[in-house]
Symmetry: C2
Subunit: 238 residues, 2 copies
């Protein structure tokens, strides 16, 4: 972690913290099922943390932080092989809740998931220790955790189906298509290495596919950027 | 489905059904959390079904049968690509409960999972319609479903990590090792096609790896069987 990462790790003022506390009700869907004393406990212990781009927040289940709501920025959850290969499971966008950062609270989850800030990211955290006490007494909170985890795993299964069953050129094409729509631009800012990590492949393989797509006049390759020059042809590859 | 499949689809006698009803308490972990009238409802509606080897029980979430406990035999859950490629998620053994056969009760599950009888298999089913009524009122039952689903997905993530990150020869070796221990024999009864389906690869690839292992004197290949001739060498490949 470089010093640069810390420039985003700022404390928010007490005024803003008061605003965050008032907003908890709207952020966490199980709020209405909490007892008054449980609400008080969450309000007192919820905190805001900010991470620089590329900071890995959760490394193993042991360091599990708690339930996170993204206030600004974006998180990425992924798994890692012993050789350092990554596969992205899903992203957590602004306004969404990351339940896998509380995976240590769920006995049923036994694999390691990593969570990384994709850009400077601000999150509201209900710490694991607090949530642990509440979920042991409040069935709704436990149900919320497992229900949300099941939902996420169901999404992940979809991703895995893509990875397992799609041909590599289709996977690259699908990534470019999604990014074009997400970035709302025909020019996508991304490196070959980043694409490889997203789709769970090797950089060399991605470069080969991109060169093929350039040759077919579907894209034009630039330094750190890819121009989509034929949207129709790209769509046909999906 | 051929006529052959039906030879296992027998009705059990009323005496045996009485035994099954009495056993529900030990089979389903949420039993103690059911109200007396809910217990009565489950007892009245639980049924026993028997499937022949190779019968696919759940084809889509629409046909979702309900919560199944395996009394005898073995189930396999898997996903299927449009081209017919399969990846096994997990097996459900005698005495275990299959929660994905009740996936329609969980809004959070949105992908299609298939369930196949690996051998003549007898299951006790609490039908979806009954479970649906109960879980809407009884939080424990809903929590049980989601908790068990999360547990299974966590196992599946482990399987996926194996598939995504292991080299193909390691995957074949790991399969042979596991089967050797499961079948408690140095002779494994399995076809190349079956191995391919288990590890999510193609038959041709598996055949190539097996020929390599035979050449290295790790295994000997026979019709429909594989002899492990050097356990130590096999272990080193893991």
């Amino acid at each position: 972690m470089s010093n640069d990462d810390f420039k985003y790790r700022i404390d928010i003022g007490s005024n803003e913290m008061a605003i965050v506390r008032e907003a908890l009700e709207e952020i966490f869907p199980f709020w209405k099922e909490l007892l008054p004393e449980e609400k008080e406990m969450v309000k007192e212990n919820a905190r805001v943390e900010t991470y620089g781009k590329g900071v890995v927040i959760n490394r193993t289940t042991e360091e599990c932080k708690g339930l996170m709501a993204v206030r600004a920025g974006q998180l990425r959850t992924y798994i890692l092989s012993e050789e350092g290969r990554e596969v992205t499971l899903f992203r957590v966008q602004e306004g969404e809740i990351c339940v896998l950062s509380a995976s240590c609270l769920m006995d049923s989850i036994i694999f390691d998931v990593l969570i990384e800030a994709m850009e400077p990211t601000e999150v509201i955290i209900i710490p694991s220790s607090v949530l642990h006490q509440i979920k042991d007494k409040n069935l709704y909170v436990e149900l919320y955790l497992y229900k949300t985890a099941t939902e996420k795993f169901s999404d992940v299964m979809w991703t895995m189906q893509q990875i397992l069953f799609l041909r590599i050129d289709q996977r690259v094409a699908a990534f470019l298509w999604d990014e074009m729509q997400r970035q709302k631009s025909m020019t996508i800012t991304v490196t070959h290495d980043e694409i490889a990590r997203y789709i769970g492949s090797a950089r060399e393989v991605v470069t080969k596919v991109l060169r093929y797509l350039a040759q077919e006049k579907v894209v034009e390759l630039k330094r750190g950027k890819i121009d989509i020059v034929n949207k129709e042809k790209l769509k046909k590859l999906l």
